[in-house]
């Protein structure tokens, strides 16, 4: 194992760097798009169920199929990492639109009414009251999406763009467990770090949950 790490450290670090970029960029894009989409599901209640159904369907499409099909749909080059980024952004969107909608719905209506009574108009109320209160749920969804993305990036190795996934295919082709183990461990570490960062973000962004005590 030591020999492997010493000899292939360059390859491993490149794979790690690529993996981080391919997981984080779609997370941000998907999360941002999920805000308006999730909001629409709450603002127009009839949209909620179809939205949830659609996101369920999107999640059932195997990631490899999406990676391979996107070049034809988008006109991107076949090896372009953009395919991975777009695919994972769509998955993130599917997952986080749900949580944004659920988060907004979980806000106590009394608080929203109080805000209206204080003179907040719809947009300001949304941005300054409802969304912040929904943040715990939304960020919990972001944690799920982040970890899920980090795991899915490796599937891209089957089309040559896979971050740490390339360590899996490399080891597999050589009947060599060391690269695979390295890839798995680094993936898990990356997920743990991402999860931790989001938990810290949540603590910072929602200070009232720290002292408010337990729910139920």
């Amino acid at each position: 194992m030591i020999d492997y790490l010493r000899g292939s450290s360059g390859v491993v670090l490149d794979a790690l760097a690529q993996h981080v970029v391919l997981a984080v960029v779609p997370l941000l894009i998907g999360a941002l798009l999920a805000l308006p989409v999730g909001y629409l599901g709450v603002r127009f209640p009839r949209l909620y169920q179809p939205l949830m159904g659609l996101s369920g369907i999107v999640y059932s499409i195997p990631s490899l199929a999406v990676f391979v099909t996107l070049p034809y749909l988008l006109g991107t080059r076949i090896l372009s990492p953009v395919n991975i980024v777009v695919a994972l952004a769509v998955y993130t969107l599917a997952l986080m639109a749900r949580t944004v909608a659920d988060g907004l719905r979980s806000v106590d209506p009394a608080l929203a009414e109080a805000a209206t009574a204080m003179g907040y108009r719809r947009t300001r109320r949304l941005l300054e009251v409802e969304l912040p209160l929904a943040l715990p749920v939304v960020l919990a969804g972001a944690r799920v999406a982040a970890v899920s993305n980090i795991s899915l990036v490796s599937v891209g190795a089957l089309i040559g763009v896979g971050g740490l996934g390339e360590l899996f295919t490399r080891g597999f082709q050589l009947d060599y467990a060391e690269p695979i183990v390295t890839g798995i461990v680094l993936t898990l570490l990356l997920a743990a770090v991402a999860d931790l960062l989001l938990v810290l973000l949540q603590r910072w962004a929602t200070p009232w949950t720290r002292t408010a005590g337990r729910k139920g």
Binding site: Y4, G7, S8, G10, V11, V25, L28, I29, A31, L32, L74, G75, T76, R77, I78, L79, S80, V82, V85, V86, L127, E128, L131, P132, A157, L158, I159, G160, E166, T169, R170, F172, Q173, L174, D175, Y176, E178, A205
Partner: protein, 315 residues
């Protein structure tokens, strides 16, 4: 109050910025000329197929070019020929190590002409058959051919020395190998046409890799599509069946390069490199990767140290 607004606005701003950046990156391939994107870095992008030997060859190309001052970018482990040829044509990669006969079969519409089989004949036909925009440099002496391989026990049981011997017994045997082998002319399709060999079944496994070797040794398949430089053939006393009809053509290692990206220096360096490469050496160095598990980068530089190219050609 303010902190939350700040957070929401910050998220919105960074997200918008990233979305724009991503859109920018995504729009480049849709723009007219892929080479304008590479022109910014001007690095030669070297790709490889998804098996170790091709990666080793690609790494050798990369290192020998870097030693001559050419800037390269590596993009290895792409996939089967069908995928990386697309990548070459749309500019994702510029250079890849190829095998003359298999490439000729892939680009010849209507199949390879009948009288073509020796390395020289294949190379000539290849130069004609390649689509515009792609060109080959000089080929090496080294060959790595597709093969049908069996265990010694199977060979003795059915009296097999050549592929022709398979015809009467193939219906009792299962074959295995790369998924693409099932549909290629240099595969099951040609085996049926040229030799009348039709197997009872075919198991798509991996590209001449450990899955295929294991399946052969376990008896899950009786005939395997392996590559002739594979060390497992020697290690496991496997028998490579002869190919009297030359279905699997001469397969000399040859650099396939996008015509727009080639230049005299690159050609000189790679041609000098190709002159040093023989089948024995390729097999020997590949074994260091496959059996000794040395990294591709280490083995490639070891090869280049042991086989320096002519200083005059390095330019």
């Amino acid at each position: 109050m303010k902190r939350r607004t700040l957070l929401t606005t910050a998220l919105a701003a960074s997200g918008a910025g990233l979305t724009l950046a991503a859109c920018g990156a995504g729009e480049d391939p849709l723009a007219a000329d892929p080479s304008t994107e590479d022109a910014a870095t001007d690095a030669l992008v070297i790709g490889s197929a998804n098996f170790p030997e091709n990666e080793l060859l690609a790494e050798m190309y990369a290192q020998v070019l870097e030693a001559s001052g050419v800037e390269v970018e590596r993009n290895f482990g792409i996939g089967s020929r069908e995928i990386y040829l697309r990548a070459l044509q749309d500019g994702s990669i510029d250079l890849i190590p190829e095998y003359s006969g298999a490439l000729l079969a892939a680009v010849s519409e209507g199949g390879v002409p009948e009288d073509v089989s020796t390395p020289e004949e294949v190379y000539e036909a290849l130069e004609d058959a390649l689509p515009d925009g792609l060109t080959v440099l000089e080929q090496a002496e080294a060959q790595n051919k597709d093969s049908l391989t069996v265990t010694r026990a199977t060979a003795e049981q059915y009296g097999l020395t050549s592929i022709a011997d398979l015809a009467p017994v193939a219906g009792q045997l299962t074959a295995g190998g790369a998924p693409e082998f099932a549909e290629r002319y240099q595969g099951l399709v040609g085996l049926k046409e040229v030799y009348g060999v039709e197997f009872a079944g075919y198991r798509p496994l991996d590209v001449g890799g450990p899955l295929t070797v294991q399946a052969l040794l376990d008896g899950d398949v009786q005939v395997a599509n392996l590559f002739t430089t594979d060390s497992s053939i020697e290690t496991n006393d496997l028998v490579v069946l002869e190919d009297p009809e030359d279905l699997f053509l001469a397969e000399n290692v040859v650099p396939l390069i996008s015509a727009a990206r080639g230049n005299a220096q690159i050609a000189a360096v790679l041609n000098a490199f190709s002159e040093t490469l023989t089948t024995e050496k390729l097999t020997e160095y590949l074994a260091r990767v496959q059996v000794d598990k040395e990294s591709v980068a280490e083995v490639a530089s070891a090869y280049l140290e042991a086989n320096p190219i002519e200083p005059a050609a390095a330019g």
